[in-house]
């Protein structure tokens, strides 16, 4: 089933425009109940349901393989097609569009088991400026897999900011496998932030590759907090192919118990005055393990790429400074980690 919605409509898949939950409950109790469950899950992931239902911001709500609601705003088109195990979505932002509020996306599965595959394409037109706020929520995951395959094209002088927060519940039975390939055209800008800092991680493997043209800018941030036997892996590659292109890869991870965090990042400086930097901080507690493997490649004598990494325990001075305010060691570590993941 292919569904496409127009501006300003909050709709069910049965095509009832502009109606609120209470009315929908009467017309389609199954849909309303799924929607309500997703909104509850959305809030657990840090989202604000009233914004999603407000009708003033662009949004899409996808539960398992159902497109529950879409709201479009001027210049932002969201086409979604339900698949056997997920949804295929194409999001197009018209050239020159500047959205006042970020487009809100909600993906998730309310049940305990299953597979959700999201295939998405983002086309950001020349000179556009758009933000996305995505919440991926799997609050009851016991044996669930979420696969995302995204293609992103940021047009010349366009800006795309994409922030994604996850919530996987407390069981650790989640697998999250997002793969993204992006192209940033001349003068374009792409900023992404992936956040998985509440609840358990389960297994997470992020892959992100991006090619950046002249004067383009890319900033990739990933943050995760693992416990139990959680397994975090980040693979990111930034190729600065055009003159004056700039890149930043920033990773913040904390692991405790028997959790594992592996961060593999590559930054290539392939053109004159291209500048890149990789910055990784991982905090290890108990029997956890952290690894950072930065790869620096420079193919032009006027390019420059740097990296810095700090892996290990919380610094003694930071710890004792907070303990001198009366916090216990565990409280101090928790505040330092949460600050690092928030910062």
């Amino acid at each position: 089933m292919s569904v496409s919605w127009r501006k300003g409509c909050v709709m069910s898949r049965h095509g009832t425009p502009g109606v609120r939950q209470s009315v929908l409950k009467e017309r389609d109790p199954a849909w309303a109940s799924e929607f309500e469950a997703m909104m509850e899950a959305y809030e657990k992931a840090g989202g604000r349901a009233e914004v999603l239902q407000g009708g003033r911001v662009g949004s899409a709500v996808i539960s398992a393989n159902q497109v529950l609601a879409v709201n479009q705003v001027d210049g932002v088109s969201i086409d979604a097609e339900e698949q056997e195990h997920g949804v295929r979505a194409r999001i197009t932002v018209a050239p020159g569009t500047k959205t006042e509020h970020p487009v809100h996306l909600c993906f998730g599965v309310v049940g305990e088991e299953g597979l959700q595959e999201i295939v998405s394409e983002f086309e950001i037109g020349e000179g556009a400026d758009v933000g996305f706020l995505a919440h991926c929520t799997f609050p009851n995951a016991v044996r669930l897999r979420h696969v995302m395959d995204a293609r992103v094209h940021v047009g010349a002088n366009a800006t795309m900011r994409y922030r994604e927060a996850h919530y996987h519940g407390s069981e650790g039975g989640m697998e999250v496998l997002p793969t993204t390939y992006a192209v940033v055209e001349e003068g374009g800008r792409l900023e992404t932030e992936f956040n998985l800092t509440e609840g358990r991680v389960g297994r997470m493997a992020i892959k992100f590759e991006v090619d950046v043209a002249a004067r383009g800018v890319v900033e990739l941030t990933a943050k995760a907090y693992g416990s139990g036997d959680d397994d975090i892996r980040v693979d990111e590659v930034v190729r600065l192919n055009g003159a004056g292109a700039r890149g930043l890869i920033r990773t913040r991870a904390a692991v405790r118990d028997g959790a594992k965090s592996e961060v593999y990042t590559t930054m290539e400086g392939n053109a004159a005055t291209a500048m890149g930097h990789m910055d990784c901080t991982e905090i290890v507690r108990g029997g956890a393990e952290a690894r950072n493997v930065p790869v620096v490649v420079v193919r032009h004598d006027q390019a420059r790429v740097t990296h810095e990494a700090a892996i290990g325990s919380v610094g003694k001075e930071e710890l004792e400074t907070l303990m001198a305010r009366g916090l216990s060691e565990d409280e101090a570590v928790d505040i330092i980690i949460r600050g690092m993941l928030r910062g």
Partner: protein
């Protein structure tokens, strides 16, 4: 006569390669501002860390009492909960912790009014700082002021301020002096570690440290006089920090050759 708030008796601390404190005696009274003076490397910061219970600064000998209670074996947290705290000389940075939250950490009942008041007391405009992170985005001077504000907001019984004037320009020295006075007026005793004469003007008492020991205590004038008449910096130590690499040797020479003429 009231019992002293802090009493330190015969405290010695050894760090790898050197004895950094030797038979230290110190008394700080209630509501007192006590200046702790001494050259670089004389042991002032080591004493501050020992009093706070920092790891690696456990006394080999001697005892420390806070309000009559022996705190020698207590952790940093336990000492803080009993009303002792320290403003570090080079305060740590914290990514992602807003100034407002940082100040609230040590307060029993944090309120925005009290947090704003603490920032104003160190001449920082609350509106400009409340939401900023206590990270590398702050200058050294700003970070020092926020540390002082955090200690002030905590309303401790005894605040150890380790060189609160360093990294703060001379024009703003009066702000720091006012803050120290205000803390004392509000009932906090202050152990004020400083190099600057201007800072000692605020103190009720003073002690002089040399080569890991307290060699003189009295009024600030008495201690300044003692320093002027009887102490001479060792040539090898001028411009150096004995606790750095190879410090052990330098320290031993100071003791052997008598930097302070006792």
């Amino acid at each position: 006569m009231d019992r002293a708030l802090l009493e330190v008796r015969k405290v010695s601390v050894r760090r790898p390669g050197a004895e950094v404190l030797r038979n230290v005696d110190l008394t700080v009274g209630r509501g007192e501002i006590h200046a702790l003076l001494g050259l670089n490397g004389s042991g002032k910061t080591s004493l501050a860390l020992t009093l706070m219970g920092a790891a690696g600064y456990e006394p080999e000998e001697g005892r420390i009492w806070l309000d009559g209670e022996d705190i020698t074996e207590l952790s940093v947290t336990e000492r803080a909960r009993k009303g002792l705290t320290l403003a570090w000389q080079a305060p740590a940075r914290f990514e992602g912790i807003p100034v407002a939250d940082y100040l609230a950490l040590g307060m029993d009942e944090p309120t925005l009014d009290r947090i704003e008041e603490a920032l104003e007391a160190v001449a920082l405009a609350p509106r400009a700082y409340l939401g900023r992170s206590v990270d590398s985005g702050l200058s050294g001077g700003e970070r020092k002021r926020i540390e002082l504000a955090a200690v002030h907001a905590m309303r401790p019984r005894l605040a150890i301020l380790d060189e609160p004037d360093s990294g703060i320009d001379v024009l703003c020295l009066e702000d720091v002096i006012s803050l120290v006075r205000r803390m004392a007026d509000e009932g906090t005793s202050v152990l004020l570690i400083t190099h600057r004469d201007e800072m000692t003007s605020v103190a009720d008492k003073a002690s002089l440290m040399c080569a890991g020991s307290v060699v003189s205590s009295g009024t600030p004038d008495q201690v300044r006089d003692y320093f002027a008449r009887r102490c001479r910096p060792h040539a090898d130590l001028l411009g150096s920090q004995p606790w750095g690499e190879g410090a052990g040797g330098a320290y031993e020479r100071v003791v052997a050759e008598g930097v302070c003429d006792e």
